[in-house]
């Protein structure tokens, strides 16, 4: 049986080509995502690991909440270095100081695009072992006005030794002289580039506080283990400063520090990888439809051959097995090729993410056998699984069919199909809505899959009427179009499966279009109704860790012609012993109510002070809090208690809790402003902000546009990721048509014999493709719009109050879908038109 299958496969390799291609694309996407994520993780691990590669022990303030890599925790006394450095177990020791520092280029613009990366300043360690940077040119910084910059920044900004450059820190912008250029290990920078290195005292002043440092790091003397060194240092600190507590200073091994940093990396890349894998899974899901369809059609076309096998004594099971082996073999070949293509896909993904503005560090491509095996296995599994039903259908072909003509696929009972389809669709929609209201992504996904499956089941029952509606313009355009409509509905199951594959991708595209348009519109409405300021100043950054110096807000406050100013900062904190860490915000509490509509406020926002917090009423009710309640709060810098001093109605402009910037400053040292809200005269605001590069001033309309274009940018990437699923579905349209033409060879010959021109045959095939594509896109747009509506309904309380159905965009999706369908039909149409009339007529 196996030999027969292989011969079959070889004989009909063209037939399996598109199945193979669908599997190949799906696997390539999956493998590409894994290669991309593995490579990125390894590259960043390499970069992050290098920073503390030689460190054996670290003295630092314990982090009560783990912040993402690079964010600052609490500081320690820099004098601890003297205690540590004097120990005989210590070979070398130095302080580590890091903080926000942005090198400004000769053009006045920040060297590192702040919208995509934050750049850091460090102290230049005089220990070669502890300094991850190595000078390649010039000298170390020794004077307060001297800096060393990294090689990448020097290249991209065009700076050379001796130039002066402005550096932005959390203090006022200051001009320094570049005395050296340094590499970071075997790289020219840590990543994006733009590290600024100061001598120690200057680093303390600009990046931390005088006399304070982020950590003291040490290298053990020969023969001393990391653990021994940690114990020695702990003992020495206790002896030197007996009153210091464990909550102020901790000593950990270098290995523990590196592990912690690397854990942060995988924690940051993990969600990103999952995000991409979701799209790979969608592509695989669509592939499954195409594979199932191809096998169904080919089994039907080969029913005579199958029946012959049965007549010769093959059992049902043997016939079924033949088809499954065929699936396994073609699936394996395609999955193997897909893994190869995956490496190319990884590069494309990298470029795509680059479009979003994230500059990713380059590194050697990592191809892990585990990831490859997973992608390969999934590809083979999906192929075989999709072929199970057609294989069973093959087994059911009775031997007598060998004596009859070509059997076209039977269409099952319509009523049963409608009932099952309706039940599955309803259950899917119900699950989806339940998932949305409970905010469980897995349930939402399950609901969406069930909805798609349900609609696909309903498909064959609705193909007839739907194709007549969609096909009406084609039928009116002439006889070829009319024949195309008839062809599209002659096998509703086949048409439905083909259209369903397209429906999935299109539904998701339409869904995103609705969400995007509605979000943009809701935001515009919200600016209109709830924002009372005149300007928003930000760094253009997507990430809340991007920001700019608080000096700007202070200077605005001090400028006549400005009515109200509030900075907007954000940090991680655990409030009220909650399980989850929240994003706690900070504003100028006295001014924020003039800038943003907070509804009715109880208590006094102006009196939040350094230990007060304002909370919204929903949060208060949920946690049984009232004015005067004291809640425990854990920050990266340590534990404290906050008193509820104001209650407000809640606003989509800010979170459920916020502090005044004065109190926040003490708890979150070195904080940057993510945004500044201003109310004041335009020329004054613009004039003040001009002095701060790396910021942009947006008036109300510009702010709405900026948010809109950020959403558009994000949508573009999502569309690109969905494009593969749509492409696979379009391949399916082409494949179904090719198989149909093969099946209708004689009929096409007859049409040609009685006077159909080649052009008319081409039109007929192309129109059929367009009808199938339009069916898929129309239903997809319908479902996508519905999904969009459903999700917006559940998010209504978060400010998504406007449902916009972007008509033009949806219509263009349909037009593009139909056009793409017509393009995919080009080859099958040409083949049909070029059939030799006599040969076609002689086909049985």
């Amino acid at each position: 049986m196996f030999a027969l299958t292989i011969r079959n496969l070889i004989a009909h390799r063209m037939r399996m080509l598109s199945t193979a291609f669908a599997v190949l694309l799906g696997v390539a996407f999956m493998a590409g995502t894994l290669v991309f994520a593995d490579t990125l993780t390894s590259t960043i691990d390499d970069i992050v690991g290098h920073a503390n590669a030689n460190v054996d022990a670290v003295v630092r303030a314990p982090e009560a909440i783990s912040l993402s890599y690079g964010q600052n925790g609490r500081l320690v006394d820099a004098d601890l270095l003297d205690t540590v450095a004097g120990l005989s177990d210590v070979a070398e020791a130095d302080v580590q100081i890091r903080g926000y520092a942005q090198l400004v280029g000769p053009d006045g613009q920040p060297v590192v695009d702040q919208s995509t990366a934050t750049s850091f300043g460090y102290n230049w360690s005089t220990s070669d072992q502890l300094n991850p940077f190595q000078l390649i040119e010039g000298s170390e910084p020794v004077r307060p006005d001297e800096i060393v910059i990294d090689h990448a920044a020097a290249d991209s900004a065009g700076y050379s030794i001796g130039d002066t450059a402005v550096v932005l820190t959390s203090h006022e912008p200051h001009t320094f002289r570049i005395v050296g250029v340094a590499d970071y290990g075997d790289r020219t920078s840590q990543g994006g580039g733009g590290a600024v290195l100061f001598e120690r005292d200057t680093a303390e002043q600009y990046l931390a506080e005088p006399g304070r440092a982020n950590a003291v790091v040490a290298i053990a003397a020969d023969g001393v283990s990391q653990e021994e060194l940690v114990d020695t240092i702990k003992g020495a600190i206790d002896a030197a400063t007996p009153d210091i507590t464990g909550s102020e200073v901790e000593v950990i091994t270098g290995q523990a520090l590196v592990d912690e940093d690397l854990g942060g990396v995988s924690g940051a890349i993990g969600p990103f990888r999952t995000f991409l894998l979701v799209f790979a899974a969608i592509a695989m899901f669509v592939s499954a439809f195409i594979i199932n369809n191809t096998f169904s059609i080919t089994v039907a076309q080969r029913s005579k051959e199958m029946a012959m096998l049965r007549a010769l004594g093959a059992s049902r099971r043997q016939v079924t097995t033949t088809v499954l082996i065929e699936a396994a073999v073609s699936g394996s070949l395609a999955a193997g090729a897909g893994i190869g293509a995956g490496i190319g896909v990884a590069q494309m993904l990298r470029g795509l993410i680059g479009l979003l503005g994230f500059e990713l560090p380059a590194g050697p491509v990592v191809i892990s056998s585990g990831s490859m095996a997973a992608a390969f296995g999934l590809g083979v599994f999906v192929t075989v699984f999709s072929a199970v039903l057609p294989a069973r259908a093959a087994g059911r072909i009775p031997p007598i069919a060998a004596l009859r003509g070509l059997t076209i696929e039977a269409v099952g009972s319509t009523r049963r199909r409608i009932v099952i389809g309706a039940v599955v669709t309803t259950a899917g929609v119900g699950t989806l809505l339940a998932g949305l209201s409970s905010r469980t992504v897995g349930v939402v996904g399950l609901g969406a899959v069930a909805t798609f499956a349900g609609v696909a089941t309903l498909g064959p029952a609705i193909v007839r009427p739907a194709a007549r509606v969609v096909g009406a313009p084609f039928a009116l355009s002439g006889v070829a179009g009319d024949l195309a409509v008839q062809n599209a509905i002659r096998n509703p199951k086949r048409t439905a499966r083909t259209a369903s594959a397209l429906m999935i991708g299109v539904a998701l595209v339409a869904f995103m279009a609705v969400i995007g348009a509605s979000t943009t519109a809701s935001f515009a409405v919200s600016i209109d109704q709830n924002f009372n300021g005149t300007h928003v100043i930000d760094s253009g950054g997507l990430d809340v860790s991007a920001g700019f110096t608080p000096e700007l807000a202070d200077q605005l406050r001090a400028t006549p012609g400005i009515d109200a100013v509030s900075e907007f900062r954000i940090t991680k904190a655990r409030l009220n012993d909650a399980d989850v860490v929240t994003d706690l915000e900070a504003y100028d509490a006295a001014s924020i109510s003039h800038l943003v509509d907070l509804g009715v406020v109880d208590g006094d926002l102006g009196a939040l002070g350094s230990d007060g917090i304002a909370i919204d009423r929903d949060y208060a009710d949920a946690n049984k809090l009232a004015l005067g309640s004291v809640i425990p709060a854990v920050f990266a810098s340590g534990d404290t208690h906050l008193t509820v001093r104001a209650l407000f109605d809640g606003s989509e402009w800010l979170g459920s809790q916020f502090m005044d910037t004065s109190g926040f400053d003490a708890l979150v040292p070195d904080g940057l402003d993510y945004r500044v809200y201003v109310s004041g005269d335009d020329t004054v605001v613009q004039r003040v902000a001009t002095g701060y590069s790396g910021t942009r001033v947006l008036d109300r309309a510009e702010f709405a546009d900026a948010v809109g274009s950020t959403i558009e940018q994000f949508l573009a990437v999502i569309y690109a990721l969905l494009a593969l699923a749509v492409l696979i579905a379009l391949l399916g349209v082409a494949n179904t048509l090719s198989l149909a033409i093969f099946e209708r060879t004689r009929e096409i010959g007859l049409l040609r014999a009685i006077g159909t021109t080649q052009r008319q045959v081409r039109t007929m095939v192309r129109d059929e493709a367009m009808i199938v594509a339009l069916l898929g896109t129309a239903v997809g747009i319908g479902i996508g719009t519905f999904f969009g509506w459903a999700i917006l309904r559940t998010l209504e309380d978060q400010g998504f109050n406007t449902l916009i159905v972007p008509g033009t965009r949806l219509v263009s999706i349909a037009v593009i879908g139909a056009a793409a369908g017509a393009i995919t039909a080009t080859l099958p149409a040409r083949r049909a038109a070029r059939l030799q009339v006599l040969e076609a007529l002689a086909t049985s």
Binding site: L750, G755, L841
Partner: protein
């Protein structure tokens, strides 16, 4: 009198009492080269008179189907000349040939004769629609009337018997008022009663509408319905009988050795 491969000018049928609807002049069709060369048609000349039902007979491989395919413009001869009315087929491009098939030629095949997705009436109207011509209503009704399908016109081919399907196919061929209709084993897939009905129907069409029909068949009974029978063997015309009878045809076939 028997004309084997007489030159066209001396053939009384081409000078004829009746004008020829189609003429085949010194046509050869060869496949392969050298030793493996097969002559499907070997210097064949024949004319098909208008308003007649002509049967082309011969054993399998005699070249009768090839001859019909060449005359109908479905196949291209290696050499020779083929005229449909005043038109020289070999000078036409594929597009012009398609147009000719649409406007001047009708076809009736052995089976799979109709487009399965269209109703009987739609099948009959199809060539006119393909050509973008307005359907001649009166003519259409006359044809449909002759076919005698009446209430079955709205049915699809799968709902019709073989004989009914074949009658629809003849109606379709007639609807375009072609100069000549080619029928390839039109009764080959039918039982003898339906077959006889179809043959009688074709005779009627020839008589009533003065339609020219050329029919390829190996059935002597079918040939007996024709006005004339042309016999082929090994790619050559070996006999030509007017008003054949079934017995006469049978006798003739035996001598050819079919």
């Amino acid at each position: 009198m028997t004309y084997l491969t007489a030159p066209p000018a001396t053939n009384p049928r081409t000078l004829g009492l009746r004008p020829a609807a189609a003429q085949v002049i010194e046509v050869s069709k060869r496949y392969g080269r050298g030793d493996s060369e097969v002559r499907a048609l070997d210097d064949v000349s024949v004319a098909f008179a208008a308003g007649q039902l002509t049967a082309i007979m011969g054993p399998s491989g005699s070249g009768k189907s090839t001859l019909m395919h060449c005359v109908a413009g479905l196949d291209t001869p290696t050499s020779g000349q083929i005229m449909i009315g005043e038109t020289d087929l070999l000078s036409l491009s594929d597009r012009e040939l398609t147009q000719l098939r649409r406007d001047c030629i009708g076809f009736i095949f052995q089976s799979f004769n109709l487009i399965p997705t269209l109703t009987a009436a739609e099948n009959i109207a199809l060539p006119a629609r393909l050509a973008g011509r307005k359907l001649d209503k009166a003519w259409f009704e006359q044809v449909v009337d002759t076919v005698g399908l009446g209430h079955r016109l709205k049915h699809r081919p799968s709902e019709l018997s073989g004989g009914q399907q074949q009658r629809v196919a003849i109606a379709r061929a007639l609807a375009g008022r072609p100069e000549i209709i080619f029928a390839d084993e039109p009764t080959g897939n039918l039982d003898s009663r339906s077959g006889a009905e179809i043959l009688a129907f074709m005779q009627r069409v020839v008589a009533e509408f003065a339609q020219t029909i050329v029919m390829v068949t190996h059935d002597p009974v079918a040939a007996a319905h024709a006005d004339r029978a042309v016999f082929l063997s090994d790619g050559r015309i070996v006999d030509d009988i007017d008003h054949p009878t079934a017995d006469g045809v049978l006798a003739r076939i035996r001598t050819i050795g079919a």
